[in-house]
Amino acid sequence: MKGNYLGELEELVLLHVGILHPDAYGVAVMDEIEKQAGRSLNISAVHSVLTRLEEKGFLKSKMGDPSQERGGRRKRIFLLTAAGKRALEEANELRTQLFNQIPKVALQFRLA
């Protein structure tokens, strides 16, 4: 993966990490995506995206507290980095910018 290109799923996960701040970890992200976007992902998929994002520098992580329902294991809490935040903003901006360029007709046609 060259540069800081943000894939669609990556963007979705990154957004949810932001939403869940400061309690974003694997299962929570998976649940939130299902709730908000209606997409059911496997936990392992969420995991690999999270680690990829961390490698790209969009996320940082720390170990949380152990909890009973995890059999006494700790969570890995993910937090947005500055780079991550900027990447989200850029993506959002790009999207709005592009969206605004769409001629009204096309939209109207769609509405009709």
Binding site: Y25, G26, V27, N42, I43, S44, A45, H47, S48, T51, M63, S67, Q68, E69, R70, G71, R73, R74, K75, R76
Partner: protein, 870 residues
């Protein structure tokens, strides 16, 4: 607060899946991944356990991604590890070169032991895979009959002749071949010899894959043609191009045949259990036995059955039952209890227990003894290695210390030493295999009539043996030294404070164990030799030194020879016999008080017992001039009297051959067969001269050889067609003597090897300890200790070890050998003392000599030199 979840026994995810996750997952990712999986699991658990389990398993499988998988150390540190292995090997090699003597001792010791183990493996492997070279081997079986005889049941490979006709009609059977053995005289031109024959149906060559090198494979279909082996062809004709050549064969006086050679057989391969010299068509056999060939009670030859590839052996059971019925009706005295179809591949291994089997056999006792010998010698060599390796650590303490300091953990050091050991063992394995190939297997072949080819039955077998054996030896010998070395503390080692080696109890007990094993094998071997000595000197129950035997074809020969030797000065007495002690005996049943007993029957001539020097215990011997002796008088042996429970045997009577017999004399027990079989009840009765098959002659004192020469020249005149049949009575047990001589050689070899191994191990050990204590001895000498005192100091410990080892090892060896001897010989062999004396003297001598050989180091060296170093 989060709700506390029930953590009962039932609410845990599937163990194997959890374990699998723990196994593959990278340790740094494990906590979060496992945590997530658990969290989901417990959430699902609230609904349904099966669903939760399923999802957990699914998640575990989905987590199994390249990114999450633990990388093996080799991949992670691939360059470092290969470099380290190289470094280990180099430092191991340098060490080996520096301490060349002990390393050489180790390699040689291991090589000898491994060589012997490889030889034993090749022997056993080839023996238990005999006959598998026949393409249809899996579909061939031999009919084996379990026959009840009196109180005992024995197995016989012989079956009645008509059995094959029944079996041939069975739809599951493809072919049946009958085969039997006999011995007959062969004459080609001037050459006359006795040869071994196999009579066989034409199907024999179709069932088995014996190779024909020239001529017709179907030769046996012709009654007047025979197949000879290459060896026979060369023996009589000088070459193997003999198809069409004539050969005259005399099976007996009445049965002389002229045959044409129809085919030449490749010499029997080493992996065949059946040896074939000459094959004769079965119809000849039928013709020779035509008056009784269809008798169901007569057990004649082996029946080999070839079944159809898909058929099951059970399809034959009703036919076999029918056969059993016929046989039992025909012969109620020795009924067949069970008919077994023994697969061809198992015939050789089972043959020791089957009478009349055509395969050569080996008793399980001897096969187990061989394995035992190999195991003991291998153990001795491994202990050697352990001792020397532990002692040699002295020279490598610094290396180990530094390795530990710069980051080598216990694991690395254990790995290093095991690797070194493994490569050493690999070298020893190669040397040992070469040793077995060039020395041991050929040596074995020379001693025994059988021929073993150096090879393995299959490559899987070879891989399993060589791989497994290498690993076993490497771990057995290397595990303790490596763990021992790895446990050193780096600081102590580098400061020179670590105590090690010689003083430890473990090292001493190792040495004791090794010596005990050596003594075990020495005592066992010597006991075996003592046993065969015992049999060599054993009284046969009669005097055999000056007796000559002539095997006759007919009674005319008896008269002819008699008329020629009557005036000879070389011969003092003659007698004839139908059955002769040491040569042949007849088994018969007698009836006494309504019960049947199996006895050996010897029909002998007038004066036979006197000539043979059979010792009379009570009554009188047989006398031809007494009329009743010719019909009803018998002489029995002590065993017979004991079996009948008679207090006074003379005058007792029993029925034999439907004639009432009266005992007129009792003779001492004597050996009529070799010593492997127990003495049984024996009956002597007078035989008519026309039935004589043996002529027994007593040479005048000191004229034995002259008498033999004279008899041979007389024989040439009497029977020019026959090979010489004159032999010494002393050679009656020739096979036994030859066998026990070969066994003795093996035993001597094993005993010597175990002494040498022990000596080598000791030498290596002492030479290390000596280097370590050199200073001590030098100081002692400076202060005036005599050479002898130093010698005492050095050897004291070892002598104690020898004594302890003797106390442990000698009874063990004696016990083991007693079991083996008891399974070989029926006679109880009196205990001899000398094996123990010799064993302990040998070991003591060995220890003394080993120390003495190193002793020069101390006496020659000037104490100042040793003390000044450093």
């Amino acid at each position: 607060m989060k709700p506390i979840l029930p953590m009962s026994e039932f609410s845990k995810p599937p163990r194997w899946a959890d374990r699998f996750l723990q196994w593959y997952c990278r340790p740094e990712l494990l906590e979060e991944i496992q945590g997530d999986a658990y969290e989901i699991y417990y959430r699902d658990l609230k609904e349904k356990k099966i669903r939760a389990d399923g999802r957990f398993i699914w998640n575990v499988i989905r987590f199994f991604r390249w990114r999450n998988i633990r990388k093996t150390r080799l991949e992670k540190y691939s360059t470092t590890t290969t470099d380290m292995i190289k470094s280990y090997l180099i430092s191991g090699f340098r060490n080996m070169v520096r301490n060349s003597t002990p390393s050489l001792i180790n390699i040689i010791g291991l090589s000898i032991a491994i060589g012997i183990a490889v030889t034993v493996f090749v022997l056993e492997d080839s023996f238990y895979h005999l006959d598998s070279m026949h393409t249809r081997a899996d579909d061939i079986a031999l009919v084996v009959n379990h026959i009840k005889d009196g109180d005992e049941t024995y197995k016989s490979a012989r079956s009645p002749h008509p059995l094959a006709e029944i079996l041939k009609n069975n739809t599951a059977v493809e072919k049946v071949a009958r085969a039997g053995r006999t011995v007959a005289s062969v004459r080609v031109g001037e050459l006359v010899f006795k040869e071994r024959f196999v009579f066989a149906d034409p199907e024999f060559m179709e069932i088995f894959d014996f190779r024909i090198i020239s001529g017709d494979r179907n030769t046996l279909a012709h009654k007047d043609q025979i197949i000879v082996s290459e060896a026979i062809a060369t023996k009589y004709f000088g070459n193997t191009d003999v198809v069409g050549q004539p050969m005259s064969i005399k099976f007996s006086e009445q049965h002389k045949y002229e045959f044409t050679i129809g085919g030449v057989l490749e010499d029997t391969p080493a992996n065949s259990s059946m040896y074939i010299d000459i094959l004769v068509s079965a119809p000849v056999w039928v013709e020779m036995n035509k008056d009784r060939i269809n008798d169901w009670s007569l057990l004649l030859g082996s029946n080999f059955v070839l079944k159809k590839p898909q058929a099951a052996w059970s399809a034959l059971s009703s036919d076999l039952d029918q056969f059993r019925k016929f046989q039992n009706e025909a012969d109620a005295t020795r009924p067949i209890q069970k008919v077994e179809l023994l697969p061809l591949k198992e015939v050789a291994a089972a043959s020791w227990d089957i009478s009349g089997s055509m395969s050569w056999s080996n008793s399980p006792a001897s096969m187990i003894s061989l394995i035992l010998i190999a195991a003991i010698l291998t153990l001795i060599a491994c202990f050697n290695y352990m001792n020397v390796a532990v002692a040699s650590v002295t020279t490598r303490l610094k290396e180990i210390g530094i390795r530990k300091v710069i980051g080598g953990g216990k694991r690395e050091i254990i790995f290093q030493f095991l690797l070194e050991n493994l490569s050493l063992c690999a070298i020893a394995l190669c040397v040992g295999t070469l040793l077995a190939y060039y020395l041991l297997v050929p040596g074995f072949n020379q001693m025994f009539p059988v021929k073993i080819e150096f090879g393995v039955s299959s490559w899987q077998m070879a891989m399993l043996f060589f791989g497994g054996f290498l690993l076993l030896v490497a771990i057995l010998s290397g595990a303790y030294p490596s763990f021992y070395v790895a446990s050193f503390s780096a600081i102590k080692v580098l400061k020179g404070k670590e105590k090690f080696g010689n003083k430890s109890v473990f090292s001493k007990s190792l040495l004791t164990m090794q010596f005990a094993l050596s003594i075990t094998s020495i005592v066992a071997c010597l006991m075996f030799i003592a046993a065969s000595h015992y049999f060599e000197r054993l009284d046969w129950g009669y005097k055999h030194d000056e007796i000559l035997v002539v095997e006759l074809q007919n009674s005319h020969q008896y008269e002819e020879i008699l008329s020629q030797v009557r005036l000879s000065k070389n011969i003092s007495a003659t007698a004839g016999a139908m059955r002769h002690i040491g040569y042949s005996e007849e088994t018969t049943n007698i009836t006494y008080e309504g019960k049947e007993y199996s006895t050996k029957l010897f029909g002998v001539g007038h004066q036979y017992l006197e000539l043979m020097n059979i010792r009379l215990k009570a009554g009188r011997l047989l006398n031809e001039s007494i009329a009743s002796d010719k019909i009803e008088s018998v002489v029995v042996n002590e065993k017979f009297v004991k079996k009948m429970g008679w207090a006074d045997a003379v005058g007792q009577s029993f029925v034999c051959d439907s004639v009432k017999r009266f005992v007129v004399g009792v003779v001492e027990d004597f050996y009529y067969d070799d010593f492997y079989n127990p003495i049984e009840p024996v009956v002597f009765s007078l035989a008519l001269q026309e039935n004589f098959r043996y002529m027994v002659l007593h040479a005048s004192s000191g004229k034995l050889l002259a008498a033999e020469g004279e008899l041979k020249s007389i024989w040439k005149k009497v029977a020019p067609d026959e090979p010489t049949a004159v032999s010494f009575q002393s050679n009656a047990f020739q096979n036994f003597v030859r066998n026990s001589k070969a066994n003795n050689k093996i035993m001597v070899f094993v005993a010597i090897t175990s002494i040498i191994l022990a000596a080598m191990g000791l030498y290596g050990l002492i030479s290390y300890n000596l280097t370590r204590r050199l200073k001590e001895f030098s100081i002692r000498r400076v202060f005036g200790a005599s050479v002898f005192e130093v010698f005492q100091l050095m050897s004291g410990d070892y002598l104690i070890i020898v004594v302890v080892a003797f106390i442990v090892g000698a009874p063990l060896g004696a016990w083991m050998m007693n079991i083996i001897l008891a399974s070989l010989y029926p006679t109880v062999i009196p205990l001899a003392m000398w094996p123990y004396v010799v064993a302990i003297s040998l070991m003591t001598l060995m220890v003394g000599l080993t120390i003495l050989s190193l002793f020069g180091k101390i006496t020659r060296e000037n104490p100042t030199n040793t003390l000044r170093v450093e």
